[in-house]
Symmetry: C2
Subunit: 450 residues, 2 copies
């Protein structure tokens, strides 16, 4: 017997820990089934496994089986099949079901966030700072063009063709800006192209346009809420982002020796992985609280540790940890995707369809043109760079959430933004596979070796 605080906690907490653990274990089993079945099927068709994980998430999530649903997508505990299954197999009462549902969803959401933090740490470990710097100027150009073109074209188009007022149009245009680092880096890694010149430009540009997207978000949100732009907040964001990136790079040259000497002194289990996580989590924490994103900190930590001679061993040890936690992220993204927006029986969806087609076109073309801006890199696969920038992931949803909370987006425009996010997220992996043609056997070797 061991710490079963369930009984101890019965007096102070609403839900027994053993029930929370049971619900998390079931959720993880569902997530792992969805990710493995989806990933394997996707792989058989020569597509990146992550696409299958996303689709597997959709199948178990809010749009289909309702095994894995979350309160923030409007689901209630009674609609979660896992909670209902627990009600039949345990002593869970309907009264505590709501509370259990909330806790289980929080825990899975945090595990998903840890998953994407570890994914970006791993991507950082596989990337090389010097290679990234070598294509730095191209990455900056790609990022800026990829933010400005969709933003300007999207905003102008909505105003001119659809008669949308300026503020909601700017909001929707802003939702087109930032690429999803998680999806694009995972696909590149699966295709074995992370360290190609194209891969490095995409990754660098995705990091930069993430930061640009955060700044755009701050501008647009304060514009919509207060009618003016909070200049001091924008300046704060620009300074802190710049300081963080430069600080991380500077740190890299000093800290990596310290790290190795600390690790060499340690003699007990976890002597490499624990110091690495301490460093990665502190960096993620700092990035999080200065209003950047935790994943940027984890990526920077990975880049710093890539410079050390512990790299190979660390990569090997992170592998199974990533295998355990990263699928939680992708399946959760899929599970939270509500495909009901594609249902033509709902009037606002039909009304939003024309806007959706427009936004999707701008979203894709606006990033595809970025490939054309790459200079001084003869023979580079320009189309691959453009395609790599396409997935918006859930960034659009962040804008959408803020827009909804201050009530400036019409229902059809909301539906159109959601459709754009779904399409760009799910189209990018197969398109990337297509623009990076690799002999079948070679892919398998690379996946096996990765």
């Amino acid at each position: 017997m061991y710490l079963s605080s369930s009984l101890l906690a019965a007096t102070t907490e609403p839900v027994e820990t053993s029930l929370v653990v049971a619900s998390v274990l079931l959720s993880l089993v569902v997530i792992y089934f969805a990710s493995k079945i989806g990933g394997e099927i996707s792989n058989r068709f020569g597509l990146p496994p992550v696409l299958g994980e996303l689709v597997g998430g959709v199948v178990v999530g809010i749009s289909a089986l309702h095994l894995l649903v979350f309160p923030e997508t409007g689901a209630e505990s009674s609609s979660s099949l896992i909670i209902r299954f627990l009600q039949t197999t345990t002593s869970l009462t309907p009264e505590t079901a709501d509370s259990l549902f909330a806790t289980q969803s929080e825990v899975i959401t945090v595990l998903a966030e840890l998953g994407v933090i570890i994914l970006l740490f791993e991507i950082g470990l596989e990337s090389n700072l010097k290679d990234l710097m070598a294509v730095g100027i191209q990455a900056v150009v790609v990022a800026c063009v990829g933010v400005v073109v969709p933003f300007a074209a999207g905003t102008a188009g909505l105003m001119i063709f659809f008669g949308i007022p300026a503020v909601p149009a700017i909001f929707a245009g802003a939702a087109l800006t930032a690429t999803s680092i998680g999806i694009t880096s995972k696909v590149l890694s699966e295709l074995g192209r992370l360290n190609s010149r194209e891969g490095q430009i995409i990754l660098g540009a995705a990091v930069i346009d993430d930061i640009l997207g955060i700044i755009v978000l701050a501008v647009v949100a304060s514009l919509a809420k207060e009618g003016t732009v909070d200049v001091s907040q924008v300046i704060y964001l620009i300074i802190s982002a710049t300081a963080f990136l430069l600080g991380a790079i500077a740190l890299g040259n000093v800290f990596n020796k310290t790290f190795v000497s600390v690790v060499d002194v340690l003699k007990t289990r976890g002597e490499l992985v624990i110091p690495a996580f301490i460093f990665a989590f502190i960096m993620a924490y700092i990035a999080d609280i200065i209003h950047l994103e935790a994943i940027l900190g984890a990526f920077a930590a990975g880049l710093v540790l890539e410079e050390t001679d512990k790299r190979k061993e660390l990569q090997k040890q992170i592998l199974p940890i990533a295998d355990m936690l990263v699928p939680v992220f992708f399946v959760t993204v899929g599970a939270k995707t509500d495909l009901s927006v594609l249902n033509p029986a709902i009037p606002s969806n039909r009304e939003g369809l024309a806007m959706a087609i427009f936004l999707i076109t701008v979203a894709i073309i606006g990033k595809m043109v970025t490939g054309l801006t790459v200079f001084g890199q003869p023979g580079i696969n320009r189309m691959a760079i453009g395609v790599g920038m396409i997935p918006r992931g859930e960034v659009g949803l962040v804008f959408l959430g803020i827009g909804s909370s201050i009530d400036i987006l019409s229902k059809p425009l909301e539906a159109a933004i959601i459709m754009m996010v779904i399409l760009t997220t799910f189209l990018a992996p197969p398109l990337l596979r297509f623009v990076f043609p690799t002999p079948e056997s070679d892919i398998e070797e690379k996946i096996a070796a990765s």
Copy 2:
């Protein structure tokens, strides 16, 4: 940019996800510092690292630094230094601090539970079912004696020497029964003695006395609550526990071939670790909902997979995952240990001291005698077996929690039970190290090889 549901969720949830993530990252950094510093110091003194992790937990926990505290130990959000630090570094308001504190504590508690589930899965992978069966009868005897002697002596002594009424005396006696599998198996693993005959007897006996402890708990709790014993519940527990153990063993002979053939078909990342976790988590779930414990299911799953030829590869991949999650469990145990019970300025502690000395004596001698009952094993280290059964971990606290909730234990008796738990938990690792004398170099090799 990626899924930052913080802003999206702002409309429906009280705490932003990015704040929850920040608090969990900080908690993990604290946990990792505590575990690594504690573990390394303990190791330098030739003691098992897990002792240092427990002590590290005490240092950062409720008894000292208040970095990592939990609501169930009576702490409030304002006493958590992590929450206060977040208030100074982020936009966290005092209003949402309580809610954040509750969520952060839930998440860390679940991570700790996942840690001990993975620990027992790993211990199962390192154990061998045939070796365990070979000492099965000895383990059963050790378990039964180790439950009956402390229970009978504790209950009788409290009634005779201290004039405690029958029901609370039975409660306190029951709190003396079950060994902490987590602590004892971890120490054995660190000493490289898990697969010695002594180690296998201790492990087998700990598993059996865990089940006996759960049955005793059911009996005692219904006796205290309703004045009678709920025979049907006891029969249900005995049948379900037996069916689970026999079912797991039977499954082992059939399932391991299925497992290997499934794994051999899979081609994408996580092809070994994900199916293994699906199996382990399903077993843990079943054990949890039939009122056994999740860790028993994970241990059984490890034993089954140990029979496959994927064992070595799986052990290697579980290692870093365990390194990441297991410290969360031990540091949390330490952090939840409230040493204020040892403060002589509190009257009930002074009153409880005599009872505590008595309970600790019974707790230690009651398990030490189990070593004498081992038969048919010439040359076996009887003292090591007895010592291995000593740590009660938090089992006593579970009894205590139920006793408190139905208000039958006096304050001094409560304090005495807590002191017994603390002493047996923290004494066992150094004692085990002492009764398993191993040349220093040999230990280090084994730790390094493990």
